[in-house]
């Protein structure tokens, strides 16, 4: 369970988040939406401990994240699979090596790594491209490599920041369906997106932010 308990993040000139409280139960899928500057990125940064709140508390499975510091941050982040809008792939490594990176970090054996990487690539439909370099892939394929990397270590949470930002509607729907498939096997999924039409096609909780406030939370009708 991800809990935000009256979380604020104040910058010198503005409040990015103000007294935000919300809950995403374990095994759920939720969308995080709002205009740009509404606080979506700040919320994700706080969740991944890239930034710290100036007020309130964030709890993950009941653990207070304010207590997680220093060397404990890296193991904490390994509980998340993260998908970025810009994919953030390493262009001097093959698709296989990109996907294998989280396993390399976690210290998996080569045999186990190969098995898991191929399973993840198969899931996103890129098994045939494992020897390719990211530069030779299309935008949609690159994003699917990013997703394979996010799920390969079987994280508890999958967090995506505008994962369909640069994709056409058909590919966007495909990517969202992938997230839903991971959610169906028990992963808690949080997807930040401003694409309301896409959200309306899925029946999941949508959290709408407006100038750092919670404007609306619920399943779109």
């Amino acid at each position: 369970m991800i809990e935000f308990d009256r979380v604020s993040r104040r910058f010198a000139d503005r409040d990015a988040l103000r007294n935000l409280s919300l809950t995403i139960p374990t095994g759920e899928m939720a969308f995080l939406t709002g205009h740009s500057g509404a606080g979506k990125s700040t919320l994700l940064r706080l969740l991944l401990l890239l930034d710290r709140p100036t007020g309130g508390e964030i709890r993950i499975q009941g653990d207070r994240t304010s207590q997680i510091r220093g060397r404990a941050v890296a193991p904490y982040r390994r509980r998340f699979g993260i998908v970025f809008q810009e994919h953030q792939l390493l262009f001097d490594r093959t698709v296989y090596d990109n996907v294998a990176l989280p396993l390399e970090i976690a210290g998996f054996s080569p045999r186990d790594t190969a098995r898991r990487v191929r399973a993840a690539l198969d899931k996103v439909g890129l098994l045939a491209r494992e020897r390719a370099y990211p530069a030779s892939l299309s935008g949609g394929e690159q994003q699917r490599v990013g997703i394979a990397r996010a799920v390969v270590a079987r994280p508890e949470f999958l967090v995506a920041d505008e994962p369909t930002g640069n994709l056409d509607p058909r590919l966007s729907l495909e990517i969202m369906s992938l997230f839903e498939a991971f959610n169906q096997v028990g992963v808690t999924v949080l997807v930040a997106t401003h694409d309301m039409s896409l959200i309306s096609r899925f029946r999941h909780q949508a959290i709408t932010l407006e100038s750092g406030h919670l404007a609306e939370a619920g399943v779109p009708l």
């Binding site: 890296a74 193991p75 390493l90 990176l101 970090i105 976690a106 210290g107 998996f108 054996s109």
Partner: protein, 317 residues
């Protein structure tokens, strides 16, 4: 470099995981280092020159020290006894001093014999004949033990001065002391200059690494974002620093070897003048190991410093 991250599976232990991570970091960093031969060779050369100069100077100094050691043996200490000392007392002192641990040999010069020799050699026979008594005292010639240095000889002379029979102790050690001081000055000079050059070399490696880290900025950010520890993110760069340092050390050893070859001509000519066997100015194994180890450590430290700064800057950004 820290242990492997937890989260290992099957019977692949932490130790295997740690080794695998190091192997990957080692190989990938080596590939990166050799992928830019131009800048890598430049770094190696700058490092090598900075290391080779003080090393060669140190080696030369070492050779000079070897040559001068035992040159003409240790100095002799002459002890003039009191004029009243008789032959039995002088003989007793000679026997006692001869047994001291710091003494190789103590010889007694008989006063009558000394006078006879003086008379014969000086040509002052008439003058000597007018003397009512023999003005020369018994003299003890003390040879310090083999390998005695200046301080040991000084100690010996102090010990001799404390003897009741001794009137005056003369040490012929000044030239030795001067040389010792000169060598000491040389060593200081090398230490100072060498230290500055090595610092310069560290800065060169640090700068090269800083550029390569800047080029890999995105990679480090991504690695940390997906849960790589700082140790994991740093590891390839620490190895790169090691490669730069070790490569520089190898090139430095070659330079020192060439320099020694170049110097051996005049050096051997000099040695010949002192009746010493010819030798080659050469890095002995200890020097070689120290040079390579020192160079590798330098590269590693430079890299440690740069990556530490880079990561803390990322954190504060």
């Amino acid at each position: 470099m820290s242990r492997a991250e937890p989260g290992v599976s099957d019977n692949w232990g932490q130790w295997s995981a740690w080794r695998a991570q190091h192997r990957v970091a080692m190989i990938s960093s080596w590939r990166r280092v050799v992928a830019r031969p131009g800048s890598t060779w430049l770094t190696w050369l700058v490092l090598a020159i900075s290391l080779a100069l003080p090393s060669s100077m140190l080696l030369t100094l070492d050779s000079v020290r070897q040559v001068t050691q035992g040159l003409g043996g240790a100095p002799q200490v002459s002890v003039l006894l009191h004029i009243e000392a008789d032959s039995s007392a002088a003989l007793a002192l000679q026997r006692r001093v001869d047994a001291w641990p710091g003494v190789a040999e103590a010889a007694l010069v008989d006063r009558e014999q000394a006078l006879a020799e003086f008379t014969e050699n000086s040509g002052f026979k008439d003058l000597v004949d007018t003397l009512a008594y023999n003005p020369l005292p018994y003299t003890l010639l003390v040879k310090p033990a083999e390998g005695s240095d200046v301080t040991m000889v000084r100690q010996l002379s102090v010990q001799l001065e404390a003897e009741a029979l001794a009137a005056r102790v003369i040490v012929d050690a000044q030239w030795m002391e001067r040389l010792e001081q000169l060598l000491r000055l040389g060593l200081r000079w090398i230490e100072g200059l060498g230290g500055a050059m090595i610092l310069g070399a560290v800065l060169v490696v640090a700068n090269t690494l800083r550029l390569s880290i800047d080029a890999c900025r995105e990679e480090i950010i991504v690695v940390r974002l997906i849960g790589g520890s700082d140790a994991f993110a740093r590891r390839p760069f620490l190895y790169a620093g090691l490669w730069y340092g070790l490569g520089g050390g190898v090139v430095a050893a070659v330079l020192v070897w060439g320099f020694g070859l170049w110097l051996s001509g005049p050096l051997n000519a000099l040695l010949l003048l002192y009746d010493r066997p010819a030798q080659l100015l050469w890095l002995n194994p200890q020097y070689l190991v120290a040079l390579l180890f020192g160079a590798a450590t330098m590269g590693w430290l430079a890299s440690w410093w740069v990556t530490k700064r880079f990561l803390s800057r990322l954190d504060s950004a």
